[in-house]
Assembly symmetry: D2
């Protein structure tokens, strides 16, 4: 074990689990450590400090360990500038490129720590030099030949948000994981409070919605929340928008009458015809203008200047003219929404929620609601430390949330 | 194919699917049929009539086919008396005993059709002769040596309830199976209407409840329904009752504080201590009397003379003194409840719902609510033609149901 | 009820349930019927014939009923030519367009019944006149201004495949729906037989595969089936292909070592780097040529000229150069695969399986395997009468299938 | 904050997470701490030591905190004897009784640390004094008036097993939780190795099996494992045993033919008749003797002196004579099995697995297999640190396990 470097950890490193994690991964990766200094916070407000020597049998292993330690916030004591290598071609990263976490990150450039903009996980970091150097994330697809891409593990600082110590904040309450055996009404109350708080603070609320929202009869209540100004952006697919519009046109959603719950058998024809009619009108906005669409979530979005992204999918009918059918373009549009959002409500859609979640920094508040526990777990696993998961019925969740928020208003 | 018998089917045999089923099973069992007469109901109110010869290669197969035809309501044209054989020993049925469906059934005894009492599936039928002969179901366990048990397939008539032709009734709306993508609020409205109607008609409402009802925060709302007279009987387990009482005593349910949703770590100790304290008092009723239990579902049951059965299970702690730990005794108590019920609400419990469902005739209204679609499907498959399944969150379902029912009152 | 038309049904209309369905939907849609002639097949090989007058209060309802009756194979006795209306604009269907089922269909054009080509559900039918008139399906997206689109319900004949009467065929065995409580090994044996039979008959086998196939360790076995010539086409996404290639390059799949099951923490970086390297090489085929990719499913596809479609999605990283990112283009590529397939294996992917399933006629054999029963149910509900669903572990299913098929060879 | 006590933690307290947990719960319970001494293990083999003062505003809170600290292994520095209070009545615990974890535990009695026998969670500890004092767990039900029950938190030492540091052992591989996206064949290989190792070491293997094992076609393979001596005990219910015997008698399992997968419609009658015949014979063992039962799991258990417990349930038919219908008696029988087991295989049964799991100390190896992830999660949450969960198909798992184990033999 001749290869070694010194790292330091600071903050609530014991009770946040950071120290345990650091030791664990050194050992998992077959390294070793030697603690040089350890100042323990002797009471609960006090921060701790730990400096340790990390060792490995070979340089490759050491680099791997150091990379992992970075990701959880253990930084080198002897910071050097980040290594920059020009991308060899468009959409090609240099060997050993640094792949981001979704936590706030800085890179060291000419002796200065520069904040990385638009944090998002699994990206490369590109540095733009000049008088005021900038650093930002780029997805693989956006890499251009010659981009200065950060490689290796040196000169990078990651600062994972610490879990709130008390349970008082609205987003403190889901620390015990996901469960359907929880008092749903109390949880919805807390989501309502967080939503109101976000709006009071001038924040942006993004709703990610699947077609089940409409099928489950929650369309009107979501429309109310849009109309009353609680929703700033909508991220959905062609299916959601079509079901919502179909419901306005025919009172059906993929063929089920929303009042009587009967299936007029021409259901799917309604679906196709709805799309056809919107295409004829020239788009959703034009269909609203000409009076074809008179109610619903999409209607309220247009009337209230709520921006929306409809991302295409290979299972779409149609699609509607506004649907972005190219996956890369759609991701870019979703990325923009994600970066502007302060709070995100993910309502019964795995595909769109994953797409949005992939672009979110770990500091954004996320509420994820689905009747399928596997969906909720998969979304929460992606690593927002401010995420709430609820396994509940979207058809009772949205009405209850709208009632609570609008009663408070 | 020399072995044959003639059967007849009457009623809405085409649109109810009975004729299709009959033909299907003859063919599945490698028999054949020859239709002798077929009078089709030429419009939707008209009943049809079909008489057909059923054939098989050997007598055993023919008997098997006839047995199956019976179960769906195809009866022999040349009725003979049912064959009665004395049970050879306690809990032992004669060879070839007739195993019941859960549909209304008659047996022919000395030339008369006698209604079978207490219909329930997978039972034997015992005939008591005398001046006014009676026939009733007996589970295997209750068979006594010498009981006259119906065997073979002759002399038995089954009359499966026909599916309602229109969708207007409260129990017509789930004919398309189980789905979580349905307008929950509308469905709950219909369940509320059916509950009110049952009470108006003087019927008995049985609630089958699992511990999740309490965990999910729905205990108060279920207690309100009991207090206001909408529930006549409760079927649950030791877990449900203990969580409900624990919540009254400590504000926790298996250790989770129902207001703050924090887990005081002594949770499970509360659970054991709750049981211990009720044992000390001498029982739930005594604990209510001495003021230990002041609220909750069990409290309201005792205050409002709502009878309850707490059935034991091998995963119970304690259990509470009222728990019936013997499975056979518990089944008998459940059987009595099931036979008295006109409407059954099954709330988030597979074990207890299966136990109750096993004892229900196919004419009882059943509403089954669970967040797990597999549970709902499994319960509905057991064959009530008047069953409604809802895949939704029990923690929002019960409050919403209570609000609707009590607002109407 | 003054509006009426006469329809006829032929074949095994009782035991296939067609007659029941027909009567049911007339009544569901508030119509009435009067049976004029009914010749019942008096034994199990004999077909039946039914002619009935269908009535409704108004013409609109009658048309709706007739449309529905068509879809299940009840055709008008007095066939007229199908009504053709020119599409008013690109991607816009005329009012009242006929929306297809996935069953074999004919349209009547100038007194002749013309088979509709490329049957697929939820499409319009376009007729091309001329000396030998043709009719084929078009999705909304492909409709061009002036296309002669079939509207209304007249002049169309639908012929739903009848369920096999006996259980002897390989695809007869799932008639009882989906269940995880079935003898898996016997079912896999039957899938193996069907696969071998399809190849013997010169048919094409399409595999639709999700990334879980690789994660679950079944990549090698799927690769064996490709190498040995049992798979003709592959339909997947960027994720599947990347995981498969990553496994070859690094022995990991999204970061999990497939032998030791440890998570080298740089996992996700491997994923991005894999894509980057394939982009650098110029594509998968080029990466095989230059020796970068040496094994795996994609490798075998290229070495054995198995055509593949990689459809993009908004949750993709990268993507790989071969990925079709435009949803409409991807659907077209998938449609072509679907039309050429005689047997389809859907392995652990909902998104891609729905996309493929949307394009399949009801006569194609489909086997759908997933550990989540909801996925299997959703796919089977789409209406292939030759579909088999298995709720099982893809990580044991593919190895077991490969063993059986290759042992037989 | 005037109330305080001093506790100490020893061992791999950082990387095992014990220190983090300790600090966390002090803060969660609104206490505070002051670290007096902290000797950190400076390399990965070195143990750490921490002594800290724990403070709270009132004595009750302090006691609560100390209780919780105990449970994770933080012990008082100034040990006193455990407080013993006589139980006031049968099945009634004294106020403040100590409720056990499932970890190895000692109580201090007259200055000596006495190991608590038969560790099991949620029990009381009873001390028997005399020359060689003993301490053992008692469930509430077994408490007798006058039993000396440990109360409060002092004088008790808990020693939770530390998680293995490396991944090399057979039970190290599931530390990342439950997932269906794992290489199943490799996992089964590891379970096989663990099973063989347990037998080599002279350990006892307990199988807990649900009826799905038989339905899924895995009965023969489980029977082989019994016959070849790999299974020492069986814990199941009436359903499992009846399905297994029915399969031997009729080739069906609840009515499904296991070879042809057809449902002979008399299925459920077979089930009842099977029970009736076993009752007639006088029991399973007698039915084997008289040649009625000739194969299957129960047959092999009897032929190979494998002891079994059949626990009754309220959903049972019959039940079979050997079924223990009283839940408390059944728990006692299960408890005995659990205490003798060194390795437990839980196969597709939630009810019986929970019942067994409740009685297991945290040092027993547990493998839990189910196709439903919720079942696996629920069982692993109960706290064995040596538990493996697999979400897979029991119908392919058991055959694959049997093949691997018996091939190795």
């Amino acid at each position: 074990m001749t290869h070694s470097r010194t790292v330091e950890l600071e903050g609530h490193i014991i009770d946040s689990g950071m120290l345990q994690q650091a030791m664990g991964l050194v050992m998992d990766l077959e390294g070793n450590f030697d603690i040089e200094q350890f100042d323990v916070g002797t009471h609960k407000e006090a921060e701790s400090y730990c400096r340790m020597d990390v060792m490995a049998d070979d340089e490759a292993t050491l680099q791997e360990i150091l990379h992992e330690l970075h990701q959880i916030g253990a930084n080198l004591t002897d910071p050097v500038d980040a290594e920059l290598v020009a991308a060899p071609a468009d959409q090609v990263v240099p060997t050993g490129f640094y792949s981001t976490t979704n936590h706030p990150t800085q890179v060291r450039y000419e002796g200065q720590w520069v904040d990385v903009e638009n944090m998002e996980m699994d990206c490369a970091i590109v540095v733009e030099d000049g008088d005021s150097p900038r650093a930002y994330t780029k997805v693989l697809n956006a890499i251009e030949e010659g981009d200065l891409v950060v490689t290796d593990e040196a000169g990078i600082r990651v600062d994972p948000p610490e879990r709130p110590r008390d349970n008082s904040g609205p987003f403190g309450f889901m620390q015990g994981g996901v469960s359907s055996e929880r008092p749903s009404e109390s949880l919805i109350r807390q989501v309502a409070d967080a939503l109101e708080q976000t709006k009071e603070d001038g924040g942006n609320v993004l709703v990610v919605a699947g077609p089940a929202v409409i099928h489950a009869g929650a369309g009107d209540d979501l429309a109310r929340l849009v109309r009353e100004g609680y929703i700033d952006m909508l991220s959905a697919g062609n299916g959601f928008a079509t079901h919502d519009i179909e419901r306005g046109l025919y009172g059906t959603s993929l063929g089920m009458d929303m009042e009587t719950m009967e299936h007029p058998r021409k259901g799917h024809k309604h679906h196709i015809y709805t799309i056809s009619e919107v295409i004829r009108a020239g788009g959703i906005s034009e269909a609203v203008d000409e009076g074809l669409i008179k109610s619903g979530v999409m209607y309220e979005c247009i009337q209230n200047d709520v921006s929306y992204v409809l991302a295409g999918s290979i299972r779409d009918d149609g699609p509607l003219p506004e649907t972005i059918t190219d996956a890369v373009e759609a991701q870019n549009a979703i990325r923009e929404q994600a970066h502007e959002a302060d709070m995100v409500l993910m309502l019964s859609t795995l595909l769109h929620s994953v797409a949005v979640g992939n672009c979110l920094p770990s500091t954004t508040k996320v509420v994820c609601v689905d009747i399928n526990p596997a969906t909720v777990t998969q979304l929460l696993d992606r690593g927002s430390s401010q995420a709430i998961g609820m396994v509940t019925d979207i058809g009772t969740f949205v009405p209850s949330l709208a009632d609570k928020v609008l009663d408070d208003a």
